[in-house]
Symmetry: C2
Subunit: 425 residues, 2 copies
């Protein structure tokens, strides 16, 4: 980590800038796959699965046998952990359902709003080194609570043409309706356009590599909704003298192990604290299996020393971290002043990893400073809210003059007329 | 309107398809303006205002004098109408504020979620034939309720270098913090990147022509949030024998007058009813000032005759109209079965134009079938929701095993370690 001492406010923006990734070199490749799957459906999906995942898949859908088998392949310990996490996630998310309330804005004018689950949603779970069954919980549970009717999961098969049993187990647990062994751009294309086997959906969720991210961006332009724009995962830790340097180091490392492009930011109040944390990082690094990845991520990471807590708050609000850990005195009071962050972890016993798995909050969060305008995934992400209005004849009389005057001033006669034809009656 | 008789379900998708507009021919032009404003700020904004709006603007910001003057240039009748509409819109939207609730998912594990207004938002109001002051209310009011700190409005100047006083008046009424006389792509660029005069914002709202829409799509790819994808405005009317053909015709015309590309769809149960509505359209058309526009829109519009109400409901759910008017028996029961629509107007006395102006609901709604996944604008659109978790040392003990087992199974040691280093203490 490079250390920055009391940087000037005018330099913050540049200092906090994330590395930009130029996706333009991928666009043509991704567009080719999208167009091919749109045109040729399953045949194209199978071809790219052979090309990119190196496996020849006959049946794209995960079979009932594979589903039944999954639970038998996992330890009871892991199944219990997944169940416990699911209970907490369900508890937290079930409070996000809004009940409609009718508002009579004027006598005889009733207005209300109702949340309705998006009928068909797609969940993408990446393959690669780790089977991200936790993300199955984080997306599948709110989808179920929202009342989505079709919840389709796509994830790339391994060399044996299978999904990891923990992914299948988590999917079953949360009520995913269909599972397909398809990954990469071909999965996003199949979900966006539909194929003979894979149903088209209206919104696509989930993390992925740069190709998947690029595909999501492109299909969003065609009107398919996506969860949010994506960037590398990141954590910011604010640490004063009340922190435990070993805990802070462990939190920074748990972010750094995600990928070489992970962002790690330490905001501290003294060089001494930064040194202590660095010493702990050195010590803990040795024991990590993903040490090499973490070392690369740390090379691009920053420790920033600021003058006081107010400056620290302003700085982290400017950064808008995906995960913000507050290991400071009066951490809860500090948390109240945070206006830009994905998820906030308060105090010395709230590591990011509890939110990643099991505290109950969602781990699909805005990266890359997007927390200034975007929220993490919640039940809201899986519903659309329809508004309704019902006017009585008398209700219309109350508002007729207002609508007619405004419509006339905007030069829209027919709008005026639609009220007048009724009030003349 | 072309009439379709009892179309087969398998043909619905094609029948309900909106005309597609290929924006690719605009992209290069739009990118040039975006890049120029990003690079050259105010100077570029002024240059394009001269080029596209034909007016040389010295001061981009609307002056205090212009603001004070605006109210004096409007009739009391119009000011009263704007105020009445604002009261209803405020009433309806103020109920959309969610109060945070803390959930203890396990003893010692507290989780909650808080809505925080997006700090800086931009509102774009198009110029052209009609001054859309109603849209100022529809975007400014929820922004204020959400607690956005900077609410920036851009709208193109007229040939005298001014904004319409009704736009200025509405902006003042709802608490817009700054107004700029800038329109088109240069306005979107200024809001996205900031200039010497115009502040950068995190999310951009508002309708616009194809250039503005294209600019919003492009800046969205750079991480600036936008309200929703855009398409031509549209209405669908479901009308059975309980409807009043004159009312239905007036509603179809009030949509048709918006633009030649407006979409109008009538779903009926008999040819007789379609004929009655067509006769009324002919009659009412004669009196409209925007007759030519309406005639063009109607030429592309469709009347679909279906067998029964269940089929009608399925059809309109497949269409996912921006505005859906239900002029049928038991309209409220029918409305309960609608799962895809922007806003629903129930019964014979609820014309679309009341929602456009003053019933209280928002008129910024998903077009083009986007209602399958998107909601209309609401207070939700102007906030982001941050999640929080606070664990006691004991709370962490309750969840430690779960997190450690899951992290290990995902191959993420450092995540496991971040818990263990704390529980070992």
């Amino acid at each position: 980590m490079k250390t920055y001492f009391f940087p000037d406010r005018k330099d913050w923006k540049a200092l906090l800038q994330r590395p930009t990734f130029d996706a333009s070199s991928l666009i043509q490749k991704v567009q080719t796959v999208l167009a091919d799957v749109k045109q040729n459906g399953d045949a194209a999906v199978k071809k790219y699965t052979q090309d990119f995942d190196g496996v020849n898949i006959n049946a794209l859908e995960v079979s009932e046998q594979e589903i039944n088998e999954a639970a038998t392949l996992l330890s009871n310990e892991l199944k219990q952990a997944i169940q416990t996490a699911a209970v907490n996630i369900k508890l937290f998310h079930s409070k996000q359902i809004a009940t409609p309330e009718t508002i009579e804005t004027m006598p005889g004018i009733q207005c209300w709003r109702k949340s309705i689950g998006i009928e068909k949603v797609g969940i993408y779970i990446p393959g690669g080194s780790a089977p991200l069954f936790s993300t199955v919980l984080m997306l599948g549970i709110p989808a179920g609570i929202a009342g989505c009717k079709e919840i389709i999961l796509c994830s790339p098969p391994n060399k044996e043409g299978k999904l990891h049993p923990a992914i299948i187990y988590a999917a079953q647990l949360v009520g995913i309706t269909k599972l397909y062994k398809v990954g990469g751009v071909q999965a996003i294309a199949a979900l966006a356009y539909g194929t003979e086997t894979i149903p088209q959906v209206y919104k696509i969720f989930g993390p992925g590599n740069q190709y998947v991210t690029c595909a999501k961006t492109l299909i969003q332009q065609e009107g398919i909704a996506i969860d949010m724009p994506a960037g590398p995962s990141e954590v910011c830790v604010m640490a004063d003298e009340s922190c435990n340097a070993a805990f802070v180091a462990a939190d920074l490392l748990s972010q750094a192990e995600h990928g070489a492009d992970s962002q790690v930011l330490l905001v501290a109040f003294s060089e001494e604290m930064v040194n202590k944390v660095n010493d702990e990082i050195e010590k803990q690094l040795k024991e990590l299996s993903r040490k090499e990845i973490a070392v690369k991520a740390l090379a691009n990471s920053k420790a920033i020393i600021v003058n006081n807590i107010e400056e620290a708050i302003d700085l982290v609000n400017e950064y808008a971290a995906e995960h913000l850990i507050i290991s400071c005195n009066n951490a809860e009071t500090v948390a109240e002043k945070i206006i830009n962050a994905g998820s906030v972890f308060i105090g010395n016993y709230s590591p990011e990893s509890v939110g990643d798995y099991a505290s109950g909050t969602n781990h699909t969060l805005p990266t890359n400073g997007f927390a200034k305008a975007y929220s993490g995934v919640s039940v809201d992400s899986f519903v659309k809210k329809i508004t309704y209005q019902k006017l009585t004849q008398q209700g219309l009389q109350h508002i007729a003059q207002t609508v007619e005057v405004m419509a006339a001033a905007e030069g829209l006669d027919a709008h005026q007329k639609a009220v007048r034809v009724r009030s003349e009656k």
